[in-house]
């Protein structure tokens, strides 16, 4: 029964409101992409929560049951920077139950142009600590787990294993490949994101169902040949655009709404305000998810792109 728990709430306002809802929220029974995300336990929200999430609950595709799914979902965001910021803000506002964040950096003045989780007084503070404060200010319902460390082959799988969806918000290829591989090995859906200069990219990966990052990009580029944001620059708002698409994908996966951005790479160019969609498919020669995988454990690629160019590393982080 949809919204049953909600109806048990005994304040008159929300009841009237929810009785209307039950008449058209009927679309929650599909088999979810994330089988772990069937609604667990008794559904009950406080009156404040019903008000807070009312614009979600009004949507037939969400309803009380969908909101409950969001409140039970666990999303892991790798990187509390340009992409991680909008992702964390919107997922927190949406009422995602648990947000995990990993980042070893401290906030630098040059981050503030785009990393909107961090405010001017946060310069010099831990990014994950700064991020947790902002998330809880937006929505104290959210449980925030922070990890002030780098993700490596040693900790990646254990960290991801506790979450339902993973967001890539990192700024270097070794980490992007590590996240892709760890998500495949842990069978966790991943929403990949990348930004550079005026451009951005989003790509959703459902392990064993859709193309992975390695199906398209076999290996990281040689260190130093592809510039990073700190070397090449980034229009800050592109991080916002790409991050909000990533957050949208995460919510869709949790709610099993619509069509995920799988087997399609979505590239955005701010100069022309144009999206380009490139259809891709699982690559039978993929070393990770192909039928004859040669990659069965995680790799720490030694060198990050930025480390080859000492002149650039003096500029600031991320």
């Amino acid at each position: 029964m949809l919204c049953k728990g909600l109806l048990e709430n005994d304040s008159p306002g929300p009841i009237i409101f929810l009785i209307k809802l039950t008449s058209f929220s009927s679309d929650c029974e599909d088999e979810p992409i994330l089988s772990t995300l069937k609604v667990r336990g008794h559904m009950s929200f406080t009156e404040d929560q019903i008000t807070r999430y009312s614009r979600h609950i009004l949507l037939p595709e969400v309803g009380g049951k969908g909101q409950k799914k969001l409140s039970q979902a666990k999303v892991f965001i790798v990187g509390a920077g340009g992409l991680g910021s909008p992702v964390a803000y919107y997922l927190a506002a949406a009422g995602i139950g648990t947000i995990g964040l990993i980042d070893s950096d401290v906030v630098d003045l040059s981050n503030l142009q785009r990393q909107i989780l961090h405010h001017t007084p946060d310069v010099g503070r831990s990014k994950v600590v700064s991020a947790k404060e902002k998330i809880q200010a937006i929505n104290p319902d959210v449980q925030v787990n922070i990890h002030e460390e780098r993700m490596t082959s040693r900790n990646a799988q254990e960290l991801l294993s506790q979450y339902d969806v993973v967001i890539d918000g990192v700024d270097n290829f070794p980490a992007k490949f590590l996240i892709n591989d760890a998500c495949f090995l842990e069978n966790k859906p991943l929403v990949h994101g990348g930004i550079l200069r005026f451009e951005g990219r989003v790509f959703t990966i459902i392990p064993n169902q859709s193309a992975c990052y390695r199906c398209v990009f076999k290996n990281p580029p040689p260190a130093g040949v592809v510039p990073t944001c700190q070397e090449a620059g980034i229009i800050g708002v592109v991080a916002g655009l790409i991050g909000t698409i990533q957050a949208t994908e995460a919510i869709k996966l949790i709610l099993n709404i619509g069509t995920p951005l799988t087997n399609r790479i979505l590239d955005f160019d701010a100069r022309t305000t144009a999206f380009r969609e490139i259809r891709v498919k699982r690559n039978p020669t993929c070393a990770l998810c192909g039928p004859n995988p040669s990659l069965t454990e995680l790799i720490d690629y030694e060198q990050e792109a930025c480390q080859l160019q000492p002149s650039a590393t003096t500029l600031t982080n991320g």
Binding site: G79, G81, G82, L83, G84, D105, N111, Q115, D168, G169, V170, D171, N172, F173, K176, G193, G194, I195, L196, E199, G200, R201, C215, V216, F217, K218, P221, P222, V225, V226, T228, C229, A232, I234, A239, I265, D267, R276, I278, R279, V280, K281, N283, T285, A305, N317, G318
Partner: protein, 66 residues
């Protein structure tokens, strides 16, 4: 020959995928190439021949995020 590159029709005098990259001055290390929806292995760029009407997509590495 007539090709479609990143969705746009182009006429190029080339025979392999690598020729296209050279003509456009693209470093093969920087790009993943899809030919008619199949990814082309980096090692096979120079041996993968093209024919009239082929569709190529170039996907450049985009590594930022922070």
């Amino acid at each position: 020959m007539q090709l479609t590159i990143n969705g746009k029709p182009e006429t190029l005098e080339v025979s392999t995928v690598l020729d296209v990259l050279k003509t456009k001055d693209i470093d093969p290390q920087l790009v993943a190439v899809e030919l008619n929806t199949q990814m082309v292995d980096q090692e096979q760029l120079g041996t993968t021949s093209l024919k009239d009407g082929d569709k190529l997509e170039f996907l450049f590495f985009m590594g930022g995020g922070a």
